[in-house]
Amino acid sequence: MNLDKQLQVDSSPQSPMWQLTIARVRDFYREPAAIFWVYGFPLVLAVALGTAFRDRPIERIPVIVVADSPNPNVDTEKILKSLGMDSRLEVTLADSAKASRDLATGKASLLVIPKGEKPLLRAEKNRPESAMALGIVEAALLRARVGEMHQGKEEVEPDIQVETVAEVGGRYIDFLIPGLLGMNLMGGGLWGLGYVTVDLRVRKLLKRLVATPMSKIHFLLSLVLGRMGFLLLEIILLLGFAWLVFGVRIQGGLLPLAAAIMLGACCFQAVGLLVASRATSYEAVSGLMNLTMLPMYVLSGVFFSSDRFPLLIQPLIKLLPLTALNDSLRGVINEGQGITDISGNLIILAIWTLAAFFMAMKLFRWR
């Protein structure tokens, strides 16, 4: 071996920042599974949920008129006729046993039991359709009664006009897309910094890197930079897809949107770093990530509005970073809000970011 020839010294290395970042990017795009979960999965979710909750005309509400009423002097026919005039109802006739069974199993939303002057309406207390049916049936019976009083007309039209609309911006898919975006920012930040760092630690590669003259700042920045690159692609893909397929439009400006996305991304990257600061096994980091993400998936309004949770815990929910992010994104995308409108939520995100980052730096183990 001619060593002196082999050991020629080369003193023009490439930038370590660039090398670290490009290594991150390679690790990612050479992993087909990762690409699917980051880029494909949210689109699949959007399609699945967007189709499932497509805005369909409301189905007709099933109502049963009980036929074997013990009271013979009641005009069951009359009730059937007045209810039959309302197109929102689907009226059938059944004996009381079948009727009770159907009410119990949800096949019928309301039972009408003819009982002389005052027919009995039986509704299921906990079911929203029952409450709706109750309103509709009451109104129909009332209209019939009023018509009767006015010279035996069968029905009078109320002095009301009704109009229904399905506006872009108010559909479920419009609600869903910002939620998916927020979810992606959270998952991406936690994986991209948290899991990746612990992976390096478990493989002892982090220790190996720290033993070189590598700057730790470069290392952290490269993770952030790599993440931001992937993120840009994710956002363009998700919002572009939602626009092309579902016609979801961004009502607000790009600046407040970018601000919310950037802050959200930074926030969850900082949380990712915090989660990774001590964990020395895949199990530990997965557990911590789930512990962080699961409550927010449920509480922060990804798939349904967080307003549904009890009033008591609302202030807490509002302080969660994902709630703040989702609310900002929905504000900008759905309602066209500007920076000032979402500033409260942005401040919440900024506080989380700083707190998580400083705590992470305090706890972080480079070995």
């Binding site: 060593l3 080369d10 930038s15 370590p16 670290l20 002892k204 590669l205 190996r208 070189t212 003259p213």
Partner: protein
Amino acid sequence: MAAILCSGLFKSYPGKPLVEAVRGLDLRIEEGECFGILGPNGAGKTTTLEILEGLQDPTSGTVEILGKSWADHGNDIRQRIGITLQETRLSEKQTVAETLGLFRSFYKRGLSLDAAVAIVGLEAKKACRIGTLSGGQKQRVALACALVGDPDLLFLDEPSTGLDPQSRQQVWEVVRALKVRGKTILLTTHYMDEAEKLCDRLAVVDHGKVIALGSTDELISQFGGGNLVEFDTPRKAPSADVFNRLSGVKTVKLTHHENPGEAASHVVLQMAQPHLALPELLTMLEKAGAGLLSLNVRQATLEDVFLALTGRNLREDGK
């Protein structure tokens, strides 16, 4: 100036009970030396190395690397050392060249990537992903990562453990080539053949302390040197005194077995000149009626030194 100087090194890990991994260790390794730390599992080799590499802080004691201290000149030291850890899994998805390029970028000066792969003999694998390499090839990539910064001082933690004989040979070739080039090398091992073949000087470490120091020859001669005559007898051998009276015998190690069907006694004699003592030995055994099952004469090795010092084998499997 010494390349590595450490004194009074202590390191304990928290736990119940407290693990005292290093317990008062002093080393002085000169520039251009290839120094080996030889010790069994858990002796504290890795811990010592990581303290010297600046990866762990000692509980107490001082460390000087290339005349500098970690606290004041950490980055200067890092620019001039290269290390391999006992266990590192490089990213499988990156190619050899990409991995080396990453490591190269951290150093102000160093080798070209071609030179680095050439030293470890992986020219043909330069464009291959790490995931497709064999264990020995991966180990050599790790070695190349330690070399891209053209370091003056190398720390190699068990460079050939877990490799097949050919791969070990290749790793040794690389280390020898570096020695020729005047690099200072500190390596740990629990293979005595590796220590004998590569190291100018050795520290035998056990329970976090240096229990013997010197070149292989020095250590063996401190132990008494010479040859070992090992044999079994079918019937109980005479007492140690009888063996001691044979000419040139230095030490006698006698083990008796009770199990029927096995040899009754196992005897190890250390002696300077077996050709003189052997005829005497055979006559004596015949007279004593002990008989002879098998006889084996060999040179004393580091293994015997370690056994004599600690009463244990260097490796748990005894090989």
